[in-house]
């Protein structure tokens, strides 16, 4: 990362910001150009990108064959309108409250484009998912990073509140990637209502990419609030729970005026018909299946978190399909040791790259194998701390 890039980052809270390394942007730009992240044989267990290890939901794949293939030669705008209406119906809102995106990635960029300026910048926890920061940097809009609470690696809402005043956009990733922690609905609402009064021109983007995996009592969606409040937008994705990361579709829900502003900048033309037909099928999947998927993830997550905790390596309170664990050694050291035995885990997440690793939750079978690899990796004394 260049110095010029870092210079955009101001730090609020204790100590220095450390490095603000791009996440998806980094992975995207490195990997997209054909530079493979891994040399040698491909890993047999991939726990690096917070994907659903079971694959894409079968109804999604069936819909791609039966409904998307016949329309593959056509521009899918009509289907986009259908999916918009179905998302609205599912969440009890109107189509005017919904904007689809080519993954939530597109919507995060759109929000950053529409709501930040060269004077009213972006505010986000550090670390948080970096798409908005990457885009703000591209546009030359200022970025303020707010450190997490050291005790539990949750967002520091007091510091965030302070930093948010005068911001164009606050990126509020809940649960937060990469640290896996979540903020309760009541705390989020308090933060939002205080901010709405204190900073009348700030918009808050609540990213709920991992919503389906949140199990903490009191965790809730901000969709009902966003629909009525022109300054709050919620982003969701089909990439995680439904196993559609490779297919590319997500959506934003907000007040109709806010959605209209976003849509005026970027439309639905980048979304492919397989994603659209797949999303239709995913929206029809019974809630009971989603609950079962949540339980499956939670079981594999608990098993792995307990395994680490029993050995003195503390995980955060994960509300997602990944874990953030203090392995008391540089992430790189642990990651390289795991990769030698065929397990790929997450990249560095500054400022925690000296101590913490992000590990996605695979299937129970994968995690049972993976912990044996983790055992080997941790049996080596840490070279540098």
């Amino acid at each position: 990362m260049s110095l010029s890039r870092r210079s955009f980052v101001q730090t609020v809270g204790v100590g220095t910001a450390g490095l603000w390394i791009t996440s998806r942007g980094r992975e995207g730009s490195l990997f997209a150009q054909g530079i493979q992240p891994v040399q040698g044989p491909a890993p047999s267990i991939i726990l690096s990108s917070n994907e659903n290890p079971l694959g894409t939901h079968k109804d999604v794949l069936a819909a791609i064959r039966t409904s998307a293939f016949p329309e593959a030669g056509r521009y899918p705008f009509a289907t986009a309108a259908e999916v918009t209406a179905l998302v609205a119906k599912k969440h009890g809102v109107k189509p005017e409250n919904v904007l689809l995106g080519c993954g939530s990635t597109q919507l995060l960029r759109t929000c950053t484009h529409v709501f930040t300026t060269k004077t009213a910048g972006l505010v986000a926890a550090i670390p948080a998912y970096e798409e908005c920061a990457d885009y703000a940097r591209l546009m030359g809009h200022p970025i303020t990073g707010v450190k997490l609470r050291p005790s539990d690696l949750k967002m520091d809402l007091d510091a965030l509140q302070q930093a948010s005043k005068g911001a164009g956009l606050v990126f509020y990733c809940n649960p937060n990637n990469p640290v896996a922690t979540a903020i309760s609905g009541s705390d989020t609402r308090t933060y939002l209502s205080t901010l709405m009064k204190a900073s009348p021109s700030t918009t808050v983007l609540v990213d709920e990419a991992y919503f389906e995996y949140g199990t903490m009592p009191g965790y809730e969606t901000m969709i009902p609030l966003a629909v009525d409040n022109p300054r709050v937008v919620v982003a969701r994705t089909f990439s995680k729970c439904f196993g559609m990361a490779g297919i590319r579709i997500g959506f934003a829900i907000g007040h109709k005026d806010t959605i209209a502003k976003m849509a005026a900048w970027d439309g639905v033309g980048d979304i492919n018909v397989m994603a659209l037909e797949g999303a239709k099928a995913a929206l029809a999947v019974p809630d009971a299946w989603v609950t079962a998927e949540q339980k499956r993830n939670e079981a594999a997550r608990s098993f792995t978190q307990k395994w680490f905790a029993d050995r003195g390596y503390t995980p955060t309170d994960s509300q997602t399909n990944f874990m953030f664990i203090n392995v008391k050694r540089p992430a790189r050291e642990f990651r390289d040791a795991c990769l030698k035995e065929g397990v790929l885990i997450g990249r560095d997440f500054p400022p925690y790259e000296k101590t913490h690793v992000r590990i996605s939750v695979g299937s129970m079978e994968e995690m049972q194998k993976a912990v044996q690899v983790f055992e080997h990796a941790l049996s080596q004394p840490a070279k540098a701390a």
Binding site: R24, G25, E27, G28, L30, F31, A32, Q33, G34, I35, I46, S49, E51, N52, L54, G55, T56, V60, I64, S67, A68, F69, P70, E71, A72, G73, R74, Y75, P76, F77, A78, A80, A81, T84, A85, P95, C102, G103, T105, Q106, E131, L138, S239, G243, M244, A245, G246, I247, R248, A260, A263, A264, W265, G267, V268, G269, D270, N272, V273, M274
Partner: protein, 393 residues
């Protein structure tokens, strides 16, 4: 595509809903508004969709099979797939004897056009475009406060190159759509090469974007792609799409080729992993099968000839189409013609000012579709009524 499969598709297709929102207007003006709504259409019959310059056959079976082959990787992000964007970039670069650094991908060429306008124009660096032409660059310029210089046509509705050169002085970007949508006309390779030289002499810092979306349908012997010019000349780049002859408009993939600094400047704006893993699998296989594209060109040429002759028999002529659509002088407002056709189950192109009082754009469907469409055109054009449209755009 075989008849059997088409019948199967017709059975499986779900009817198009009519609801749509305002957000369509920005990018989906063409496909969105035209393909939409079946209000005003004959009930029951499946509409003939000849409004959005799509390949009516869709992608080949080899492409669909390749997509099915990617199903086991659909839950992984595209950068974790066995074939990443890098694999498609490598194949495209090889095809044109270029390097990977010369190639940029987008989810359709639309995203690339948008980002080219963002990268190379500003309130002090105008966009030059023929008008009417593909509207994405002009729409983007208006959104970001870039002035637009519009250039007209010669007597054959070919882009007026002399005026294009003149307008380029001090411009940030020249957008040159060749063949041009909606006029369907093309300029030959030497004319394009001369234009590039003249613009570079008149305005050395101006970027030149040559959009060859309809490249695979051109039959004019004076035409060849400008990719050789783009690879040999700084500040020139070419866009291509899989949406037309490749039949993949729904899969969303396109690319640009040019000098590395140009590609890099546009790439800065590229959305991460906008191309799906499934799309990548399909395009890689599609790109490798040139025979399929050659056959599609022949098919289109034959159906186009049939349609042009049928119009001529009605006394209606158009431009020299080098694409998969026609721009016909129907000597009456497009709106009335369009509404009447739609009522009879045929969807044709939208208004293209300043030609909306006289010309209509008609895409080329299958032979069977065009035979039916021509019967509708005969009835509509034979009628004296030219009621104006209620939903004029």
């Amino acid at each position: 595509m075989s008849l059997t499969r088409r019948r199967l598709f017709q059975r499986l297709s779900t009817p198009v809903q009519s609801a749509h929102g305002e957000w369509i207007a920005a990018r989906g003006r063409e496909a969105g508004m035209m393909e939409y709504g079946e209000q005003g259409m004959a009930q029951g019959a499946k509409p003939i969709r000849i409004a959005s310059n799509e390949n009516p056959l869709g992608p080949g079976q080899h492409v669909l099979d390749a997509i099915v082959g990617k199903f086991p990787e659909a839950h992984r992000y595209p950068f974790n797939a066995k074939q990443t964007e890098g694999a498609l970039i490598t194949d495209i670069a090889k095809r044109y004897s270029a390097k990977n650094e010369n190639v940029l991908l987008g989810p359709g060429s639309g995203e690339i056009l948008t980002h080219a306008v963002r990268a190379f124009t500003s309130p002090t660096k105008p966009l030059v475009t023929a008008w009417p032409s593909f509207e994405n660059p002009r729409d983007t310029a208006k959104k970001i406060g870039t002035p637009v210089r519009e250039v007209g046509f010669d007597g054959k509705l070919r882009i007026d190159i002399a005026k294009m050169v003149e307008a380029s002085k001090g411009a940030g970007l020249v957008f040159f759509c060749n063949p041009n949508n909606p006029t369907a006309t093309v300029h030959g390779h030497s004319a394009v090469a001369d234009m590039v030289k003249a613009i570079r002499a008149a305005s050395p810092d101006t970027m030149i974007l040559i959009d060859e979306a309809y490249h695979d349908y051109v039959t004019d012997p004076s035409y060849t792609s400008a990719i050789d010019i783009a690879l040999a000349t700084p500040n020139v780049f070419v866009t291509r799409t899989f949406s037309k002859a490749y039949g993949m408009a729904g899969l969303r993939a396109g690319y640009a080729i040019g000098h590395a600094p140009t590609v890099k400047a546009v790439q800065a704006f590229k959305m991460p992993y906008g191309l799906s893993t499934l799309t990548l699998g399909g395009t890689i296989v599609g790109l490798a099968d040139q025979a399929h594209i050659d056959a599609e060109q022949k098919r289109n040429t034959a159906v186009k000839a049939f349609t042009v002759k049928a119009f001529a028999d009605m006394g209606v002529t158009g431009t020299d189409s080098q694409a998969n659509f026609l721009f016909m002088d129907i000597k009456r407002p497009a709106a009335g013609f369009r509404d009447a056709c739609r009522a009879a189950g045929v969807q044709v192109g939208r208004d293209f000012p300043p030609f909306e009082k006289t010309h209509c754009r008609v895409s080329i469907g299958t032979m069977e579709e065009m035979q039916k469409a021509v019967e509708v055109f005969k009835k509509v054009l034979g009628s004296t009524t030219t009621t104006s449209s209620k939903d004029r755009q």
